[in-house]
């Protein structure tokens, strides 16, 4: 079996587990009832206010900012850079490429470094700060190792061991159309891709569930209006009073 086929199978399996697992998890969050009103107050008293709170949490990590400036700084750099890197990667999956994907390419160039730097900062805290070391399991270190390795191999390709981007793009577009094209056999690329597939495989069964989870967190997404509107879900939906 050729490498192209092995990687194709790997990616198809990874994609199914990633998308299926995520859909399963998200639907389980959506289906699980929140029997009581438990927003952490002071909380917004309107739907609009809750959306604004959530936007702040997701874009600028508001609560984290209140809590610890170092984690916030490293964490925010890592995530922001990750977004840029991922958007930049769109170009391997589209033909023609959307204009804004082209637009961010120059910024994206540095994002790879920022991403790795942020990760290393977080990792350093995990090793150096006794409290964070205490709460870390092997998987927490492995997760950082995985992301650093993905970033590292990506940067290697970009600056040192270039790969055949045109062929890679043809391969990726092929996968989207269920047709297997030749895959450049550069070791760095193969490692990059294998690690990315690993990331997709573990995503729905690991702490990376924080990404969908944050949107479902009742302490952040509930409106503070329990006196005005009677809340009832799940267990509490069975309570009946006919006054």
């Amino acid at each position: 079996m050729s490498l192209a086929v092995v990687y194709a199978v790997l990616f198809y399996v990874a994609a199914v587990i990633f998308l299926g697992g995520l859909a399963w998890k998200i639907s389980s969050y959506a289906r699980t009832p929140a029997p009581l009103k438990i927003p952490t107050t002071p909380a917004p008293t309107t739907r609009f206010g809750v959306v604004a709170r959530m936007v702040r949490e997701v874009t600028v990590f508001e609560s984290l900012f209140k809590s610890n400036k170092w984690i916030w700084l490293f964490g925010w750099i890592f995530h922001f850079a990750l977004v840029l890197v991922l958007l930049r990667h769109f170009r391997y999956f589209q033909e023609p490429v959307w204009f804004w994907v082209d637009l961010i390419q120059p910024f994206g160039k540095y994002a790879g470094f920022a991403m790795v730097a942020g990760l290393l900062g977080l990792w350093a805290r995990r090793v150096v700060v006794d409290r964070v070391r205490y709460i870390s399991s092997p998987s927490d270190h492995l997760m950082l190792a995985l992301l650093v390795a993905i970033g590292g191999t990506g940067l290697l390709m970009k600056y040192v061991a270039h790969t055949d981007i045109v062929a890679l793009k043809a391969y990726m577009l092929g996968l989207l159309r269920f047709s297997i094209q030749p895959l450049p056999a550069d070791p760095v690329l193969l490692i990059h891709l294998a690690l990315v597939a690993t990331l997709m495989l573990i995503f729905p069964i690991s702490k990376l569930l924080h990404a969908p989870g944050v949107f479902f967190s009742p302490t952040r997404n509930q409106i503070d209006n329990p006196r005005e509107i009677r809340h009832a879900q799940g267990w509490t939906a069975q309570i009946r009073h006919d006054a």
């Binding site: 389980s28 969050y29 699980t32 009832p33 929140a34 029997p35 009581l36 009103k37 438990i38 952490t40 107050t41 002071p42 909380a43 008293t45 206010g49 949490e57 609560s63 984290l64 209140k66 809590s67 610890n68 984690i71 964490g75 977080l122 805290r125 995990r126 700060v129 006794d130 409290r131 964070v132 205490y134 709460i135 870390s136 399991s137 092997p138 998987s139 927490d140 573990i202 069964i205 690991s206 702490k207 569930l209 924080h210 989870g213 944050v214 479902f216 967190s217 009742p218 302490t219 952040r220 329990p226 006196r227 009677r230 809340h231 009832a232 267990w235 509490t236 309570i239 009073h241 006054a243």
Partner: protein
């Protein structure tokens, strides 16, 4: 278990984050509930063979029934932002008192039995890789220690990027322990008393009536005014639901006198209920929706029977959370009450409203001997609201205090409002068998208090929670303050209010 020797933490120049001291609080466990009280609440009397499986199953049921629990157990990234936020960690240095570590005690069992990764890795002996672990006696022991070292104050939840609330996790763990027969004595006996007698103190109706008559005489002697303390008066406008400690604990009782004077001057008829003579709802502490609902139901029954138009809740923290956030869900709708008033209304909202409308005559100079600071009670601050605007729970009590005193000083901003530190005795821990924990857990609040005592000569710590008041009167002396430094906000109102018929 109880009565071990311990040192009161030392206060320094500022709040320090301690180094880790592994296991220093492992011995701190409350007494286990006797079978009769377990059974009164619908739980098995004691641990029986096969409890491990039942614990795992019950945990699964709880996760299925609570989005919060499911999301919280999955989402923590171990970022560490919460690790220095819990007063019990700050006061003891025990790493298992870091909120995330406390959660992990439950999360490791959840991961092992209720996630795909844990099921697979657990089978091949690699559970430790992802921080998963088997349910066994050692784990149960840790649960019993450390889930009774969480006052469910929600401070960690403010600082977590996903709002993970360790209080929810502690409640779930306590419910699991109850459901396998290992409940906590203090909470479960109290709930059993509420069912039997109507309040936490086990104060029966005749004794309650007696106490209140005594209070009427005291107030009459002191002010010359006939301030009433009515019980079970049908057709009164307001039903007052207050923590039973208000009936005779110090300094709570001054608060009750304050409420009565406010009602008197406002000319609003009110009543207590001997059937529902308790605001506190310990069902929340043990994480039992079932018991919380049953306790809350008593309020509805009393309000309907007495035919009142409004419900006002006295000074209490966790109770106000249950009243504000949960009553409507558990015992509502309250559509039989007057829709012009919030149901329920906090006594601070009630008094504040009267002050705004000029209905009370307050002379702050009556409190000139006091230099006052205010302790935001954790559950009022982070689990409820007062007034119409977010954050009203910080503004209204301070405005009521400032209308009643001339000298008010806030503690450091990182220790008040949503950042407030728990008194150290909340969430079902206000029992003598946890004295060491209570003293150590009060350390961050005592540190902040020390600063205003030194800088502003503060000599009165005002609070609006029955637990805070009892806890502080017990622990203040450990830190070199007189126990009567703690007082009710309505104790200050009571001093300031001019009933006008004395001379």
């Amino acid at each position: 278990m109880a009565k071990t020797e311990f040192d009161t933490p030392e206060l320094g120049e500022f709040q320090l984050t301690p180094k880790l001291h592994d296991g220093v609080m492992a011995h701190s466990q409350p007494y286990i509930a006797k079978p009769e009280f377990q059974e009164a609440l619908g739980f098995p009397g004691e641990l029986e063979d096969g409890w491990e499986d039942r614990a795992v199953t019950r945990l699964g049921e709880l996760v299925d029934g609570s989005r919060a629990l499911r999301v919280f157990l999955d989402s923590c990234v171990k970022c560490g932002a919460c690790t220095d936020k819990c007063h019990y960690y700050l006061g003891t240095g025990d790493p298992l008192n870091m909120p995330v570590a406390r959660q992990d005690l439950l999360r490791k069992v959840y991961r092992r039995y209720h996630t795909p990764a844990g099921k697979v890795l657990g089978k091949i002996g690699l559970a430790g890789l992802i921080g998963a672990a088997e349910m066994n006696k050692e784990v149960l022991d840790q649960w019993y220690s450390y889930f009774h070292q969480c006052s469910q104050c929600r401070r960690c939840s403010v600082f977590c990027p996903y709002g993970i609330d360790t209080a929810e996790i502690s409640m779930a763990a306590r419910e699991v322990m109850d459901s396998i027969g290992q409940g906590q004595k203090y909470c479960n006996e109290i709930i059993a008393k509420v069912y039997k007698i109507g309040n936490n103190l086990g104060l029966p109706e005749p004794a309650l009536v007696d106490t209140l008559e005594g209070l009427e005489e005291d107030v009459k002697d002191e002010t010359g005014v006939d301030v009433k303390f009515p019980v079970d008066v049908k057709g009164a406008d307001v039903l007052l639901i207050t923590p039973s400690a208000d009936f005779f604990a110090e300094p709570h009782i001054d608060g009750l006198i304050g409420y009565a004077k406010v009602f008197h001057q406002a000319g609003i008829s009110w009543t207590l209920s001997s059937y529902a003579s308790e605001a506190a709802n310990f069902g929340m502490f043990i994480g039992s929706l079932d018991n919380m609902q049953k306790v809350a139901e008593r309020i509805r029954t009393a309000a309907l029977e007495l035919g009142v138009k409004r419900i006002v809740v006295g000074e209490c923290g966790h109770a106000w959370r249950v009243a504000y956030s949960f009553w409507n869900t558990l015992a509502g709708p309250f559509d039989f009450l007057d829709p012009n008033y919030p149901a329920p209304q906090h006594i601070i909202e009630f008094t504040h409203d009267l002050i705004q409308r000029g209905a009370l005559t307050l002379d702050p100079s009556a409190n000139d001997e006091y230099r006052v600071t205010f302790h935001d009670s954790c559950n009022v601050a982070r689990a409820s609201r007062m007034g119409n605007r977010p954050g009203g729970q910080f503004v209204l009590p301070r405005e009521v205090i400032k209308s009643s005193v001339n000298h008010f000083f806030d503690m450091a901003p990182e220790t008040i409002h949503e950042n407030t530190f728990c008194c150290g005795g909340g969430g079902g821990l206000l029992t003598d068998d946890l004295m060491e924990l209570r003293v150590k857990g009060a350390q961050p609040r005592m540190q902040a208090l020390k600063d205003v005592v030194e800088q502003n000569q503060v000599n009165y710590l005002a609070a609006i929670c029955a637990i805070c008041k009892s806890q502080f009167s017990k622990v203040l002396p450990y830190y070199g303050h007189p126990m009567d430094m703690i007082g009710s906000v309505h104790g200050l109102v009571s001093n300031a209010i001019q009933l006008g018929t004395k001379q």
